[in-house]
Chain length 347, copies 2
DNA sequence: GATTTTTACTCAAACGTTTCAGTAAATAAA
DNA sequence: TTTATTTACTGAAACGTTTGAGTAAAAATC
């Protein structure tokens, strides 16, 4: 007989018990002024006693504010994303916002569905790292057109879009990795890129190109690959690269999964890393520190990215509460965050 | 001038335009019978034209149903969890439910806050993998008492609680790892456990004990450690173990992070794995396959766990829609899912 | 043609909260 | 004492949807 009989526990119930109006209860719960101290404590006591919990739907419906931010991300299992998300969540909590995390599984269809779902629950803002294949961003229009601010990060629109954009300095990352290998004397550097419809891979490659130009080293077509960055594709690339001599003296992969597979392949065919072949990855996946030899890679400082995102979002949301703001009055930020090279044993 | 002037797009607006009642629009949107085919298509066309999207808050408020499931998990970055979550999300989508993913960061306080938030948004159910430190589960009472079903997995209540429980077969996992090492001839087996207030570590250790008993091998106190399973703690344990001879001939760690650190430590002090020391981990973290030598570990088949969770949840939610169900009528499942040993190069 | 049944729709209340406008009482100012 | 001001509260509408009850028209039955 533990269960209490049919608890309803709305603001009305508390009002009825205390012979007050629901309006007063609401005032107490929202810390409005002009409510007697005695009344306030009576109400709070009763709230505690009956275990009242605000119904977010009713409240959100009335106020048109949910204090909730939606996040869409390709896969939460990717280390960089996991770290960014964790930071975002913590920072948002500090500002009184909740975070709804959604995974698109790198599927555009799902991404579309998720934007709709988030719009349906009228989140106050959306943070999105898009699918590898998202080139058309119009499914975010529902949000932007209805004044729900959107912030893109990591994989962001390449064409102008009315939203803030925050991303690691991929150009510099590409440059750092390339320059590092060139400094070490490598000249036949193979580059494993992701598809070039995606902002981050464009920039990383451009940075790499700059480094190569600085060292007057041509980029060879047969040493460059543009695939989705899976282990399987990396293996294919390696197989091609080591089918006949001259072998490359370095591999620069645009993510660590590919770099790790390259390393694995090199071991299999007894190519000594770093002596005969140097390898640089991208992202500082936890595996890159643990593999033998450990992998030189580009660190993106994900926690920093998360912080920058929330800072930017808060600017937007605070502004929102003020005067009427349209796309015209609200500038859209475009922020690039620092990256760095972590040198380990593979170079 | 792209922006349309002050779109409101409620069901009323559509009704007004088409000179129908909001009720009819609602009927169309919910596929109710008794609405004329012509009307239906007129409405659908207009819904499309003005870009109407249902307001989930209004709908949820009225129906007391959100088609949303909340998930609380210590950290999304843990591989097993990431995999389970992904499966859960996909399966739930197939059933027309959305998933809200929340991270407790292994903090009880945050876990409490999250249960409240999920209750506030009146999710239809909650799936939870608790904090390492959660021994009191009363913060889930708000949910269970208000007929929001809760399913625990991974780290689950050890004392009876009115909720379904789904977990990997930790006892068998502990047994498999122990027996494997014993079969290989190891007799001085060090065991690195997590704190014993947590269900999974109790069971894993019990399974290990059983194996040791079968081989008439005593468990030595100075070879057994109960700490939070961090790399730092694993290192401390290893330092103690290799402070003086006789050295252990095997390490069985209750998670892969610890096992990986043990492996790392062994390399540092030039103890040959697997010749002088065999190591078994738990969880099949992606790193365990990639490290040298690769790590023997216990696979938990996370995708399977995810599937079982959703299957169980659907049973509960379908039942809910039927007759009035109390804790008495709804049995609480307690399901254990299979595990397996993956032998690699560390044993 | 009168009656019943079915179909297609509308009305209005309800979900639980917030908030504007209003009021009664208490206090301050005249 | 009268008037103005402040304080503490209440009433009722509103947010956008769903749904039971009701109704008018059309179709089926007698």
């Amino acid at each position: 007989m533990k269960k209490k009989p049919a608890r309803k526990n709305s603001i009305h119930d508390i009002a009825r018990i205390l012979r007050l109006s629901p309006a007063t209860i609401s005032r107490v719960l929202n810390n409005h002024p002009h409510v007697h101290a005695a009344t306030r404590s009576k109400v709070m006591a009763m709230v505690e006693e009956v275990g009242y919990k605000r119904n977010a739907m009713a409240s959100g419906l009335r106020t048109n504010k949910t204090n909730t931010v939606g996040l869409i991300v390709p896969r939460i299992s990717m280390f960089v994303h996991a770290e960014i998300i964790t930071t975002i969540q913590n920072e948002l909590h500090a500002h009184g916002y909740n975070l709804i995390i959604c995974q698109s599984n790198d599927s555009i269809e799902l991404e579309k569905k998720l934007t709709n779902t988030l719009y349906a629950s009228r989140v106050d803002a959306v943070i999105a790292a898009c699918t590898l294949f998202t080139t058309d961003f119009s499914h975010f229009d529902t949000l932007t057109e209805n004044d729900i601010p959107v912030i893109f990060y990591d994989r962001v629109p390449v064409t102008p879009y009315p939203a803030s954009i925050i991303k690691g300095d991929d150009f510099r990352g590409g440059y750092l990795g390339g320059a590092h290998l060139l400094e070490l004397g490598c000249r036949r550097i193979a580059y494993i890129s992701g598809p070039l419809n995606c902002s981050i891979y464009i920039d990383r490659f451009a940075g790499f190109e700059k480094a190569m130009r600085q060292y007057n080293t041509p980029i060879l077509n047969n040493l460059t690959f543009y695939h989705e960055l899976s282990a399987a594709n990396a293996r294919k690339a390696m197989t091609r690269l080591f089918a006949r001599k001259p072998y490359p003296d370095a591999i620069f992969a645009a993510n660590d999964v590919s770099a790790l597979e390259a390393l694995h392949f090199a071991k299999e065919i007894n190519v000594q890393v770093p002596v005969e072949l140097k390898i640089v990855g991208y992202s500082n996946d936890p595996r890159s520190a643990i593999v033998t030899p450990s992998l030189t890679t580009i660190e993106q400082f994900p926690a920093n990215i998360g912080r920058v995102i929330v800072t930017e979002l808060m600017k937007i949301l605070k502004k929102d509460t003020g005067a009427n703001n349209t796309a015209a009055t609200t500038g859209f930020a475009q922020i690039t965050t620092a990256v760095g090279l972590i040198r380990r044993m593979s170079t």
